[in-house]
């Protein structure tokens, strides 16, 4: 996969003067075919980013391109599930799936939708469904559209662990079979760890970390040893207990493993360290860097 599923350049979004900016100067690139975890604290701008990519909002600054075109042009190739799982309350489950077929006549895949919606009571009105059932139906619509890019905003929040596991399985199978790019947001990382091979950490309206999870992990190390200078490495977070120093650093050269006890951080440790240290510089691996605007135009 060479194309970009999402490419943001200086993306900014302000909702009026009073509510401040949800995103500012946000630049990154998500290569196609990845399963991407979009993580960050509440209010970091995750939902705004997904809504912009889905073409529901127009950015106030910068631009976002999706699957090589504008979000509006790519509408038929994107599926989006909003955080509150909006569905037409007066329709039944069967009617909702029928509407999915009517509104996506070119791509609708009944079987894919049924794989997820199968256990739902077909004649039940949407307004009578539980939160988990609504999620199931919303995901069924998204899968039935057979998109190239799925944007899922907190998709698993309402589900019990068993169902979560099962639906993750369906999503992963879909992605593996059709090369679908999936972006899933969450403020609980453990929900997504293991399933995702790409990571975007958004905080304060910017991307703090972006790239293949493995590369991001490999770029960092946890060093334990006697207190001393950590140069040339970039310290993300450090803690001293007596003469013992534990530091999470971004490697800027070979590590001296005679002086330090070196271990690789877990993804959760890494994210927490970055969230606790707002001054740590952003890290985008080469695949996650947005090309300069001139290059995008030339390409």
């Amino acid at each position: 996969m060479t194309g970009a599923a999402i490419e943001a350049n200086g993306l900014g979004m302000a909702y009026g003067r009073r509510r401040g900016r949800a995103l500012s100067d946000c630049s990154f690139r998500l290569p196609a075919g990845r399963i991407c975890a979009l993580v960050g604290p509440n209010g970091a701008g995750k939902s705004t980013l997904l809504a912009l990519a889905a073409g529901l909002l127009r950015p106030t600054e910068g631009s976002v391109r999706v699957l090589g075109s504008t979000p509006a042009e790519a509408r038929a190739r994107i599926a989006y599930v909003a955080q509150d799982k909006p569905l037409y309350p007066q329709l039944t489950v069967a009617d909702t799936l029928w509407a999915g077929a009517e509104l996506n006549p070119a791509t609708w895949d009944r079987a894919a939708a049924d794989r997820v919606a199968g256990p739902l009571p077909q004649d039940a009105k949407v307004r009578t469904l539980s939160g988990g059932q609504r999620t199931r139906l919303a995901l069924a619509l998204a899968l039935g559209k057979r998109p190239e890019l799925m944007l899922l905003d907190e998709p698993m929040a309402d589900l019990d662990p068993l169902v979560r596991h099962q639906l993750m399985g369906v999503l992963m199978a879909e992605a593996a079979e059709h090369g679908t790019t999936i972006v899933m947001s969450s403020h609980i990382l453990t929900e997504l760890e293991g399933a995702c091979d790409y990571l975007l950490l958004v905080e304060g309206g910017r991307v703090r970390l972006g790239g293949e999870s493995e590369d991001i992990l490999a770029a960092h190390a946890v060093l334990t040893g006697q207190v001393r200078d950590l140069a040339p490495h970039t310290v993300v977070e450090s803690r001293t207990t007596g003469r013992q120093l534990t530091a999470l650093v971004r490697k800027e050269g070979p590590l001296d493993d005679t002086a330090w006890d070196v271990t690789e951080p877990s993804l959760e440790e890494l994210l927490l360290a970055h969230l606790r240290s707002p001054e740590a510089p952003a890290l985008l691996t080469p695949s996650a860097r947005a090309r300069a605007r001139e290059e995008v135009v030339a390409a």
Binding site: Y80, A82, L87, Q90, L91, E102
Partner: protein, 324 residues
Amino acid sequence: MSTLTALRGPARVVVRQHRWTLWIAGGLALLTVAGLIALALRSAHVAEVFAASECRTDGADGNRECMQVARNYLDSMFTYRRLFEDVALALMALPVLLSGFVAGPLIARELETGTFKLSWTQSVSPARWLAARLAVPAVLLLAGTGVVSASLYQARSHTESPYPSEWHAMHVFSTTGTVLAGHVLFALCVGALIGILVRRTLLALALSVLVTGAVGVAFAGLRAHLWPPSTVSGTSLDVRENIWWVETGHLTGTGERLSQDVCADVSESARARCFADNGITGHYLDYHPASHFWPLQLVETGILLALAAVAVTVAFRLLRRRTG
């Protein structure tokens, strides 16, 4: 044609979403048409029976028993005319209800509850989503009001009534010709614009009802001035039948128009003196002959369609600016 097929999916979904409203509206329309047919047959029968009785409403038959017969006949015909008027009033109120429905439940509710996020991320653009929401009610309502107003016209003119409905009476003028269709389309487009602007179901509904209602009232008051009236003048006015009186008043020797109120509250004997004091030498009457029916109808319809076009253009622009 391709735009039509592109609207098919979203249009069918709108119909399914609001099928109860459609069933109720369709049922009411059918009931109204059936009621009008019954009313037409009934009034024809009553008129026939009265004609066969050889009684006259003006008492010229000289038969005392006829007084009650004539009174019953007149009462019945008056009731029928009132019923026709009620149907006409309902038709006149329809655009107001329609704009409230379009602004509130059809559009603002999707924006308020967030289901627009579902609608706009299928393979249908927001513009087509809006187009379907305009096209479905437009087609159904133009057809529905067309059938009901045609039935009303037929039922009203089926029998000659001692209480004829004159072409310029508000409830007649508003429900014949093209004016009703104009008001329906205007209500639809204004409702769409307000729904998109306001994004709150109840507020949008109320505002839209208010705006459409105000415009309806304004047209009822001003429509006589939408086409230049004919004028007669002279010392005594030869008033023709079947005309719409617009304005009447006095004329001075220099041709200046004076209000009807001048010399209105002086006694009969002092009137000549008052006329002389004011230099009044004659009177004038501005009126619309029946031949002005179509010009008046078409000018009003044209203004409404132009306003509707502006509203719908702004609505689409807003939607486009918001979503990109």
